[in-house]
């Protein structure tokens, strides 16, 4: 009776401690999708199997060490083999492994079934941001780190969501199955949001799939989980899960914005407009390498301020921004940025920080070049 009570108390203490671990964020989260809950349960089942095995194995070991100790006159048994025991200790782990594989495989099958999705989102990893494209909806944008550089350099107090905040979050509807298609423009990245139980490598040249169906509206944060270069820690993921009607309204608004942006390609832009727009694009896209004042970080990232090659060669400059420079860290921006953004940022870099070339590059000209 007493032994039973001790075991019961021990068991309760263990279950209690696992609840504390969950509440403190030491454990993996239960998450906000049916699948994330299933993955959590799987994790806990296997965890408790490991606990039981650990207790039994170490219990037998320590009991034997104590009970048959040398000082009490214990003698070692000398025998070569015991086939029965060997078969038992081989088949028992085999059965445990098969027992764990059955529920794990059932969950894996669900994870790998992105069929019947109501919305497709292409997620592209880039050094160092995420690009989201709502396929067939004419909505696409880049999601950049929004934490001010001053906080990173330690000149300002760190905010609540330090390095986990972006300028444009991925907006998703709840209660709808959303399929993700992952790829990368440069190196391996991994799109990871613990609350959604999605952690997927993005591989250049390949498209991989995953999906979510979120149950709770909210803001879910994650990070790149595959070391991808110097700013690996500076490309967080933020997902805004919203009610379905709110999402539909948001999507329409973004479509209207995209349509307006497309109209902007045809008209002539004033120098001031281009400079203003270009400064914003430069800050979110270019400044992490070429630095906020265009001073660069040679030798990897050349200076733009006072760059003779850039000032002298407007066509070369356009080509570098649009097509990148192979063999260097400079990526092609032909798909990341639209013609207006490309024209604006080229104009900005040709006229900021004393690069007073006076060149205003028009979006129409860039659009024509992209179409070639």
């Amino acid at each position: 009776m007493r032994t039973l009570l001790v075991w019961l108390a021990g068991g309760l203490a263990l279950v209690g401690s696992s609840q504390v671990a969950l509440a403190r964020g030491w454990n993996m989260p239960v998450g906000v999708t049916d699948l994330s809950g299933e993955i959590y349960s799987l994790h806990m089942i296997i965890f408790w199997i490991c606990v039981v095995i650990g207790v039994v194995v170490f219990g037998v070991m320590f009991y034997s060490l104590f009970r048959y100790r040398h000082s009490q006159g214990a003698k070692a048994a000398n025998f070569h083999e015991n086939t029965t025991v060997e078969i038992i200790w081989t088949t028992v782990p085999l059965l445990i492994l098969v027992g764990m594989a059955v529920p794990a495989t059932a969950t894996l099958q669900k994870i790998y079934d992105p069929s019947d999705a109501e919305l497709d989102v292409m997620i592209t990893g880039q050094q160092w941001r995420w690009r989201y494209e709502y396929l067939g909806e004419d909505v696409a944008f880049n999601s950049n780190l929004a934490t001010p550089r001053a906080q990173i350099r330690g000149e300002e107090e760190r905010g609540e969501h330090y390095l986990l905040e972006v300028d444009e979050p991925l907006v998703l509807p709840i209660n709808r199955k959303v399929r993700f298609l992952f790829t990368s423009d440069d190196v391996l990245h991994a799109w990871w949001v613990p609350e959604l139980a999605v952690k997927q490598d993005t591989v250049p040249g390949f498209v991989t799939e995953n999906w979510v169906q979120i149950n709770e509206p909210g803001i879910y944060r994650g990070q790149c989980a595959e070391l991808c270069g110097v700013d690996h820690g500076f490309m967080p993921v933020v997902v805004h899960a919203v009610e379905e009607d709110e999402f539909d309204a948001w999507l329409v608004e973004r479509q209207e914005m995209a349509a307006e942006e497309a109209m902007g390609v045809d008209r002539d832009w004033e120098m001031d407009e281009l400079m203003e727009r270009g400064e914003g694009v430069y800050g979110s896209i270019c400044a992490s390498c070429h630095q906020p004042e265009g001073q660069g970080a040679p030798p990897a990232f050349p200076a733009l301020a006072g760059n003779e090659e850039l000032i002298a060669g407007i066509e070369w400059h356009k080509d570098v921004v649009i097509n990148g420079v192979s063999g260097t860290a400079m990526p092609a921006f032909r798909t990341t940025l639209n013609p207006v953004e490309l024209a604006a940022v080229i104009t900005y870099t040709r006229n900021a920080w004393g690069n007073d070339t006076g060149d205003a590059v028009q979006p129409a000209e860039i659009a024509e070049r992209l179409a070639q």
Binding site: H80, T83, I87, T105, Q109
Partner: protein
């Protein structure tokens, strides 16, 4: 033949009786064990593939 199959099954599990091992080594040629091993290896893969196929529905 049954002895060979039993020995190959024991090798799959990684546990063998010492007495049986001695008997196996008295046979002289390892050919029977190699052929049986390959056949049963293929059979094992086929069974696992079948189970996976049935489970995937």
């Amino acid at each position: 033949m049954w002895g060979v199959i039993k020995s190959v099954l024991a090798a799959f599990l990684g546990v063998q009786r010492d007495q049986q091992r001695r008997e196996d080594f008295e046979r002289g040629s390892p050919l029977a064990f190699i052929v049986t091993g390959i056949v049963m290896g293929v059979l094992l893969v086929a069974i696992i593939a079948l189970v996976a196929f049935l489970a995937a529905g």
